[in-house]
């Protein structure tokens, strides 16, 4: 009995996450949890490429932005329902990831970090470029409508949005977990840990890395779409370089190459900034920095790393 419970913990966790907050929490708190679900998917995407495949990306905010804009533009210009934008957004982000990854991943290491970091810095610029202004709304951005609950469900829009985001997040986590536990996941980690051996086993390194990058961009892009629906607004300023850095922080504190740690990372980046600003209005950035450093000092491998160590000791 206990074993079965343990084996199905993700399912139990999901059931708990779906029911309890929806009943017990206020709309505002639900909104926060919605953002946690969104960030969790975004960090999951980053984790695929950085955690499992060992390629440091400091620019995943760019894919988040692409996903958000695809959804916003489709909803605003063509009146596409919000849920129908997700597959399109996934496809476009995967292609973008593939194209960016093609040259970038030939570089690897520090050079990939630079390229992706540059991408993050250039994102707001590209979003407001005048040629795209007709779609993106330029610096003004796009305001979109909040989805109503379907089928006349007796819940409010915030509750629906939470359940919807949670459901999408659950599917993404399921896909990612299956991916990394399977053949492809083992190949990813082989490429990360023993590239030469992996190549000798017949893995085309560059192509494999690029595909991983595309999958990763797709996940983060879907998170962007969900984020746009939750915030109901996209603008270049929402996707400044700090977003990419925030996602990276979420990855590191959650734990590299850990699916579960990703969720903790999402909680961290959602709630710690608020905590920091309550400690000090004079220098919230400093408080955030100190919390981050202290956390990594205690748990260099993130929460997941610390738990793994604990389990090994026990």
């Amino acid at each position: 009995m206990g074993r079965t419970l343990l084996r199905h913990w993700p399912l139990l966790f999901l059931a708990f996450a779906a029911v309890v907050p929806t009943v017990a929490l206020s709309n505002y708190q639900l909104f926060q949890l919605t953002m946690v679900a969104v960030y969790a998917v975004a960090i999951l995407g980053l984790n695929i490429v950085t955690g499992f495949n060992g390629q440091i990306s400091l620019g995943h905010g760019a894919f988040y932005a692409v996903g958000a804009y695809v959804t916003a533009i489709m909803m605003d210009k063509w009146g596409v329902p919000y849920w129908a934008t997700l597959p399109v957004s996934a496809l476009i982000c995967a292609c973008t990831g593939f194209l960016v990854g093609l040259p970038a991943l030939r570089l690897g290491g520090l050079y990939l970090a630079l390229t992706t970091f540059a991408l993050a810095v250039a994102t707001p610029q590209l979003l407001k470029y005048k040629l795209f202004e007709g779609w993106t709304g330029g610096v003004q951005g796009i305001v979109i409508d909040k989805p109503d609950p379907p089928f006349g469900l007796p819940i409010n829009a915030d509750q629906w949005l939470y359940l919807f985001s949670l459901a999408v997040a659950a599917v993404m986590f399921l896909l990612a977990a299956n991916l990394v536990r399977g053949r492809i996941g083992r190949a990813m980690m082989a490429v990360r840990d023993q590239p030469t051996a992996a190549e000798a086993m017949g893995i085309d390194l560059a192509m494999f890395k690029t595909r991983t990058f595309a999958v990763s961009a797709m996940l983060t892009g879907i998170a962007g779409s969900l984020g746009a629906i939750a915030i109901q607004f996209v603008a270049p300023d929402s996707f400044a370089v700090f977003l990419s850095i925030t996602l990276f922080v979420g990855l590191v504190v959650g734990g590299v190459a850990s699916i579960g740690g990703t969720i903790f990372g999402a909680f961290f980046i959602e709630f710690v900034p608020n905590l920091a600003e309550q400690v000090s209005k004079a220098a919230p950035g400093a408080v955030y920095g100190i919390i981050l450093i202290a956390f990594l000092f205690l748990m260099p491998g993130g929460l997941a790393g610390a738990l793994r160590k604990l389990l090994r000791l026990a």
Binding site: A15, A18, V19, T22, V23, S26, N27, Y28, Q29, F31, Q32, M35, V121, P124, Q125, K128, G138, V139, Q140, G141, V143, L153, P154, I155, N156, Q159, G227, I231, Q232, F233, A235, P236, D237, S238, A240, V241, F242, L243, P273, N274, A276, E277, K281, A282, A283, P284, G285, Y288
Partner: protein, 404 residues
């Protein structure tokens, strides 16, 4: 299979429970955020992130309302001013605003910072019918009383300001060849739009070149060179203080002597003119609506003495050359006038009604002759400005007070 049944049962009963919870209670009778002893006011500010220089406005407002409370508050109530950080990121503004409105239950949001940030919450605020008063941005859109009844600006709009420059150019230098340096965002682009408004059909012929920069650029030297190279003899700079100071210096260094217009945003003596050099800025023209804390002209001005007295008592360690504190004081004075006019009725509807019912309000930190006026069809509280030119020591006002 059994588990599935269990889950769906839980699910159904949850939905039932939520149906009961989902309905708003009957608490609507009392105004949220207003009790017998206090009025809660919310504010989002950039205490962290790229715009943290504006955090000074938030600190200034906190101090201002402390002074108000020390003086007895308003209508027998103290002000509980809750200001929170959004890091200048629109998603966080949405989150923090929802916290202020739904969790803290503020009566209204005051002076939230940033154009994209206010755009992100505008729809929400109007759907919830919570006043979004005196937003801290000069974008032109914050006077749209027809579509956004609950949202009101405060400072003069950038676009109207740019039109004032355009009219001055048409009147005094009709053959001008204009170059524009602007920040590539809503702030900078409003100046392009304003020039189009002011110059009309002549815009295409008169504006020989526009050059933009990003806030992440280290310098704007290249852009200045480009504008000079295009043959411009008149320059409009729509840049934030750092780039404005660089522009003044670069124009001087390359010995270019255009007719030089500078946005009001970067007219601070302490933060722009002094770093650039007093002598290098001679001839720069801007429009003003507020007194500059570092301008010698106001050393003995009664209004600024009042402000200095407030600063000495409530913010003794603050940088007195920072014009954001003057701005905060002005917003505070305007807000208190609204609350006093409310009498005993602090409902959100009445707060909004009184905010749209200000008549010739004189604010001690605004330029002499400039008054605040609003009405149900005028959501731009400050519409008046005056041209002023830097003479090497101080801003010298000239011409009439202009207003749109």
């Amino acid at each position: 299979m059994q588990r599935r049944t269990l889950l769906s049962t839980i699910g159904l009963s949850t939905l039932g429970a939520m149906a009961g919870l989902g309905r708003p209670g009957a608490a609507d009778a009392a105004t949220p955020g207003v009790s017998a002893t206090e009025i809660k006011i919310g504010n989002t500010e950039a205490y962290s992130g790229p715009a943290s220089a504006y955090g000074a406005i938030g600190h200034g407002l906190v101090a201002y309302f402390k002074m108000v409370n020390d003086q007895g508050g308003v209508g027998g109530r103290k002000i509980n001013f809750i200001t929170v950080d959004d890091g200048y990121s629109p998603p966080r503004t949405v989150e923090q605003t929802r916290r202020l409105v739904e969790q803290d239950g503020v009566a209204f949001i005051l002076n939230a910072l940033g154009t994209p940030n206010n755009t992100a919450i505008e729809k929400y605020m109007n759907a919830k019918k919570v006043p979004q008063l005196f937003v801290a941005t000069g974008a032109d859109k914050w006077g749209d009383y027809q579509h956004y009844h609950w949202t009101m600006g405060w400072q003069p709009s950038y676009r109207i300001e740019a039109a004032v420059y355009a009219k001055d150019i048409l009147a005094n230098k009709p053959g001008a060849k204009i170059g524009i340096l602007y920040q590539n965002d809503d702030f900078g682009k409003d100046y392009i739009a304003g020039m189009q408004d002011g110059l009309g059909a002549k815009f295409k012929a008169m504006v020989v070149k526009t050059a933009s920069y990003e806030v992440t650029d280290p310098t704007i030297d290249s852009q200045i060179v480009t504008l000079q190279g295009a043959g411009a003899d008149t320059l409009l700079v729509a840049a934030t203080p750092k780039f404005a100071a660089q522009a003044i210096r670069k124009v001087f260094d390359i010995n270019w002597k255009p007719l030089f217009f500078m946005t009001n945003v970067s007219s601070s003596v302490g933060a722009v003119i002094k770093p650039a050099g007093f002598d290098k800025a001679v001839g720069v023209t801007t429009v003003g609506y507020a007194k500059d804390p570092t301008d010698a002209a106001w050393a003995n001005d009664a209004g600024m003495q009042e402000w200095r007295g407030f600063m000495a008592k409530y913010m003794p360690n603050a940088d007195l050359s920072d014009a954001n504190y003057v701005y905060a004081y002005g917003v505070g004075v305007t807000t208190m006038q609204v609350l006093r006019q409310c009498g005993k009725d602090f409902s959100r509807a009445n707060i909004m009604k009184q905010a749209a019912n200000l008549h010739d309000l004189v604010v001690p930190t605004l330029l002499p002759g400039i008054k605040i006026n609003t009405s149900p069809t005028n959501y731009h509280p400050i519409r008046q400005m005056q041209l002023q030119k830097w003479n090497g020591k101080t801003w010298e006002r000239f011409g009439q007070i202009v207003g749109a």
